[in-house]
Symmetry: C2
């Protein structure tokens, strides 16, 4: 999956797990995420740079996640990079996204 071409669809690179590549895998990933928690996202920064048929966007976000099983909301703040490619019809398509948290992590076991 990692080595698949971007021509084969969007490649998402979330923290704390392997890359997710292509529409079926992405649908599965986001369905699981949204089943586990309800989210409220705010994008707090965006800077887009154009280079021919590619655009890349630095962004920052804050998020609140309410676990589906109850309990207090978990706060997060982080940053990411989105890469868009202009399609033959002139529209822009997200082809790659990667992000990580600004918050200190607990040490990994």
């Amino acid at each position: 999956v990692e080595k698949a071409s971007l021509r084969q669809g969007r490649c998402s690179r979330p923290p704390d797990r392997a890359a997710v590549h292509g529409r079926p895998a992405l649908e599965h990933y986001f369905k699981d995420r949204f089943a586990a928690s309800r989210f409220r996202f705010s994008f707090t920064f965006s800077d887009i740079q154009l280079a021919g048929d590619i655009a890349f966007e630095r962004l920052a976000y804050t998020a609140l996640a309410w676990p589906a099983g109850g309990g207090p909301a978990v706060e997060d703040a982080g940053k990411g990079l989105h890469v868009y490619r202009r399609q033959s019809d002139g529209s822009w398509k997200l082809v790659l996204d990667i992000w990580n948290s600004d918050r200190p992590a607990e040490p990994r076991r």
Copy 2:
């Protein structure tokens, strides 16, 4: 710092902390990292796409980190994205890098 232009120098976006922007801040950041641990990195995947004066590289890595204070090495594996910009002299300069781990995180407190 977050909102500074990429014209003002490389913007690194490490996990678990805020973005690091510009040479003095980057020197400080990497000096601290290399003082805290000795690292061995292997890049296990690279795919570079060109778009005019921009190149972006998907990559994956494995890493071993030996804490300076002793103790067992910590293993990591992850993925990242590097953005390079062609300079007026034809050379390529890393202007943005972001990465994250593939390993499950401990829940944040």
